[in-house]
């Protein structure tokens, strides 16, 4: 949308106005579009007469989920609503779209694709409107689904988005103001702002911050004060409400309206005030930044990109990808963020897997457990787009290069999804030897990015590290190029540094020294292994010495109370069995490593691991040992197994048989199922863990494909037991060979029988017993 020359005035509250005319509290106002069109039109008309330039249709909750039981279709109600607004003589009609009313995965159970489709239906039904408006939104991922639907199906009409913030500057889902602005401006919203939740006075700091983070027109649509705690009524008079608009005008907001409790009188008063005011032009300087919904990371100082989510040269990682073991990948994510990564690179490219699906599921899974921004690292354009589509926030795309194909494929995706992009200084002729050559490619990438509307601040250049052992003369060329890109083009720089030391002794020393040199040369985004303490320490030290970490606050926080080197795992007289009993993971792993120098891996398993587990299991059954202790022991045993697995030849894990595990559709409580998984794995079963909220078909698909003899299903809620029954029914049809064991807090043996399960397990140990029953309690076969 071009810069507004005059204030744009929106309307005010609708629900409260209809209630005054007899709409029952709790009833759906959307039905009045067809049942009492004249009443709806009358409200619209009152707002038009009060001076509103834009009328929101009476369609806030008009989506297929909320309208399901009304007997009306979304199309019917939306089209009637637009007619009502037109009939009132609205200068412009905005199709009003509120939250879906269900939370998206992973917190809730609604999928991103379903959310998109719900919004698409609304957008298509509202084609006769002039503007699309998403309001009262609290979940950035849901807004992204809506905005994409409006951009892709709305025929190019402007899209406004307003979100609702609490006094802590965050929405209910934790979305912060900067992340909202970066994400929605990147995705192509035409105006953004705030509505509902707070009164105009409480919104002042929020709107001020928003104005600093966006170049888009800013919308302010507050309630008429805060609701009375007893009566829920809003008390601001029109005059007081209007006076509150003044500070927003001074900040540079240009679109105004009212939300709950506001009436045509409030809008009239605000419009009168605005007639006397001039638009204040803003010139915000928005720093280079990436984000997730809950966290914005500015690239105004060195930030660490963790490189460990990448299968290249990692046997265990490739195996995890092949087995779709997201748990392993999530472990890598958490380890790196705990170690100090600000951003995580995500590369899931491996020959045997479907990278498109894997990129999307990995992005979702990582975003479910950490709010660190991601860098999507792939050469597969489809995988890139799949990741960009579901990424909640503004990511980095890694990467584009100077080749035409790459520029033409990658940059449009970066633009469409509002990402930042890494430009590699190479092209079809390879990596130029000289700094000049690489600078020239960097300039070309920048020009092409600017030409399609990508901001300069969103282009990060990688001048490419060459190996010092092979191309010693090239090392300084990389750094010279980096400095020139930074100083002459004003761009941020990124560099994977680990390559520098390849083929040399004392790699860590070489890499760390090069990292410090590169930081001094102007490196903003080092891509490193943050788990190597000396590397993160080098970045922290650089920030201290370069006066970025003022008063050494961060440095002292990390090293101020450092103990005299963490005690190495002193295992002394401890045995593997006692380490497992005490639930000591690190010790169990370290003792296993020691044992492996003298013993056969399978002897360790049979003579030490399994007996220790059996002891824990027996203690649990007798009631002398409790669930947390059983889990601790199982986790310690798992750490030991992990060490043993690495010592064994490829893919030859112990295997007593395959079991499919799932928490049923609609249920997202998976703690119990996860405990069962660990125990089953410890006892040598191969577990295909489908996760939580698993569709019936997915359970049958996995069982069919693996021909698993046993399926374990869990459900914690009475409301999800029918889903368990339906899953069992489908399994009987499609996988008649399999047995089904069920468990979960609300299940009883009787109910388990009633819904057709073969076995009931009260707890995790009973599931192991059930497995032994099905597979036979044979000795574990040699791997």
């Amino acid at each position: 949308m071009t810069e507004l020359q005059e204030f744009l005035i929106l309307d005010g509250g609708m629900g409260t106005m209809l209630q005054a005319q007899g709409l029952a509290p709790g009833a759906a106002p959307e039905l009045w579009n067809t049942e009492h069109p004249e009443a709806v039109t009358a409200v619209h008309r009152a707002y038009v007469e009060a001076g509103a330039d834009v009328i929101y249709t009476n369609t806030f909750g008009c989506n297929r989920l909320k309208m399901a039981k009304t007997g009306y279709s979304v199309q019917t109600l939306i089209q009637a609503a637009i007619r009502n607004a037109r009939a009132a003589g609205a200068p412009r009609v905005a199709l009003d779209i509120g939250p879906i009313g269900q939370m998206l995965e992973p917190t809730g159970t609604l999928s991103f694709d379903e959310a998109y489709d719900i919004f698409r239906e609304q957008v298509e039904a509202g084609r006769d409107a002039d503007i699309y408006v998403f309001e009262t939104m609290t979940d950035l991922l849901e807004v992204r689904a809506g905005l994409l639907a409006a951009k892709e199906h709305g025929g190019g009409k402007p899209v406004f988005v307003t979100m609702s913030f609490e006094e802590n500057g965050r929405t209910f889902t934790g979305c912060c103001i900067s992340s909202m602005a970066l994400t929605l401006e990147g995705l192509g919203a035409d105006a953004i702002g705030v509505n509902c939740s707070l009164g105009p006075e409480e919104l002042v700091p929020i709107v001020r911050e928003l104005c600093n983070w966006t170049t888009l027109p800013v919308i302010v649509k507050p309630n008429a004060g805060l609701p009375d705690p007893v009566t829920n009524a809003y008390h601001f008079t029109p005059e007081r409400f209007a006076a509150c608009m003044e500070p927003f005008v001074d900040m540079g907001a240009v679109i105004f309206g009212g939300c709950c409790g506001t009436t045509p009188a409030h809008i009239r008063a605000a419009a009168e005030l605005l007639r006397r005011k001039q638009i204040v032009r803003r010139h915000p300087v928005i720093p280079p930044a990436v984000c997730t919904a809950n966290r914005t990371v500015t690239v105004t100082e060195p930030r660490i990109i963790g490189e460990r989510i990448n299968p290249t040269g990692k046997k265990r990682f490739k195996q995890a990808l092949a087995e779709h073991d997201t748990g392993y990948i999530l472990g890598q994510a958490i380890q790196q963020t705990d170690a100090g990564a600000d951003i995580l690179d995500v590369n899931v490219g491996s020959p045997e897997i479907d990278e498109v699906e894997m990129m999307q599921s990995t992005v979702r899974a990582i975003q479910g457990i950490t709010d660190v921004p991601l860098q999507l690292d792939t050469t597969n354009a489809q995988a890139l787009e799949a990741g960009l589509r579901v990424y909640n926030g503004k990511p980095i795309v890694n990467s584009v290069n100077g080749e035409e194909d790459s520029l033409n494929t990658v940059l449009p995706l970066v633009k469409k999804y509002g990402a930042a992009v890494v430009g590699l200084t190479l092209d079809k002729n390879g990596i130029p030897k000289t700094a000049d050559g690489r600078f020239a490619i960097a300039k070309k990438i920048l020009d092409r990015a600017l030409a399609i509307g990508i901001r300069r601040e969103d282009v990060y250049i990688d001048c490419l590290t060459l190996t010092a052992s092979a191309e010693q003369e090239g090392v300084m060329e990389t750094l010279h190029a980096l400095t020139r890109v930074k100083q002459e083009l004003g761009l941020r720089t990124v560099l994977g540094v680990s390559n520098i030391s390849f083929g040399l002794p004392n790699r860590e020393l070489v890499t760390r020294s090069f990292l410090t040199m590169a930081l001094y040369a102007g490196l903003d985004l080092p891509i490193i292994n943050p788990n190597t303490e000396s590397m993160t320490a080098a970045v922290r030290t650089y920030k201290l010495l370069a006066n970025i970490d003022r008063n050494a606050v961060d440095f002292i926080a990390h090293y101020g109370s450092e103990p005299a080197a963490p005690a190495p795992q002193k295992t002394g007289t401890m045995t593997l069995g006692s380490a497992i009993s005490a639930g000591l993971k690190a010790e169990a792993a370290s003792l296993t490593r020691e044992l492996l120098t003298e013993h056969d891996p399978m002897d360790i398993v049979e003579q030490q691991l399994i007996p220790a587990l059996d002891r824990a299991g027996a203690g649990f059954e007798k009631g002398t040992l409790f669930l947390p202790q059983l889990i601790s022991a199982a986790s310690a045993a798992q750490a030991a197994f992990e060490v043993i697995r690495q010592a064994l030849p490829d893919q030859s894990g112990a295997d007593r048989g395959t079991i499919v595990l799932a928490t049923v559709k609609g249920d997202i409580h998976d703690i119990g199922k996860n405990i069962v998984r660990v125990l089953l794995e410890n006892y040598g079963y191969h577990v295909i863990d489908l996760g939580k909220d698993v569709p019936y078909e997915a359970v049958a698909d996995a069982t069919e494909k693996s021909h698993a003899p046993l399926v374990g299903l869990s459900a914690l809620m009475t409301t999800t037991l029918p889903a368990m029954e339906a899953t069992i029914r489908l399994l009987r049809e499609r996988c008649p060979w399999c047995k089904v064991v069920v468990g979960g807090a609300v299940l009883t043996p009787e109910y388990a029988r009633q819904i057709g399960a073969d076995l009931y397990a009260r707890d995790a140990m009973e599931t192991v017993e059930a497995a032994k029953q099905i597979f036979g309690d044979q000795e574990m076969p040699a791997p």
Binding site: M103, S635, I671, R677
Partner: protein, 220 residues
Amino acid sequence: MIVLPSVDREQALRYMGMHAAPDETLRTCMDACEQRLLAAAVPRYLHRVCPIHASPEGIRCEGMLLTGADIAAHLHGCDRVILFCATLSVGADAAIRAAGAQDVLAGMVTDAMASALTEQLCDAAEQEILSGFPEAYATWRFSPGYGDLPLSLQGELLGVLNAEKRLGVTLSSGGMLIPTKTVTALIGLADAPVPKGRRGCAVCRLSGSCPYRAKGEHCK
């Protein structure tokens, strides 16, 4: 606003089935989980006071029909109810997921601690609300799904409270409250003393198979 500075560990240990003093491994785990949970959870609550009327079909309240013998007994002698919803918000769910991704024990511990914290929130909120009714007598909190009060009431209750807009609480298509660490409840108010009744077991659907009852205990 309610501030909860720490988790009731005794309660959390009960939720995780730990009927002995925690060992070193568990204590360390609880320390770490508690810190992360308290940083992530945002305790909030919402309430409304509504009049109730007896009818042949059940008790009527703000367009809702409360059916079943148990709620009728619970609200016997009351003329108003406090409709109540409290939540730790989605941050608690994120903390549970993050903990579980790292370590199954940490996942379970965080979940149990979040449940205990939810109870603490409900207790504190209830106290805060009731302080506004010094003259009234109150029943304990009764939630949809207790006894024969249908769980399907949940959606209507959220609607009457406008909990989606004002608290960020929604109901999934599977009928689950999201954020998961959320409680809805009804508290009866009366001008004369009301029998408190035996809380819990008498109306609990799980009383037949309850592990606490088997040990002669009961859940708080």
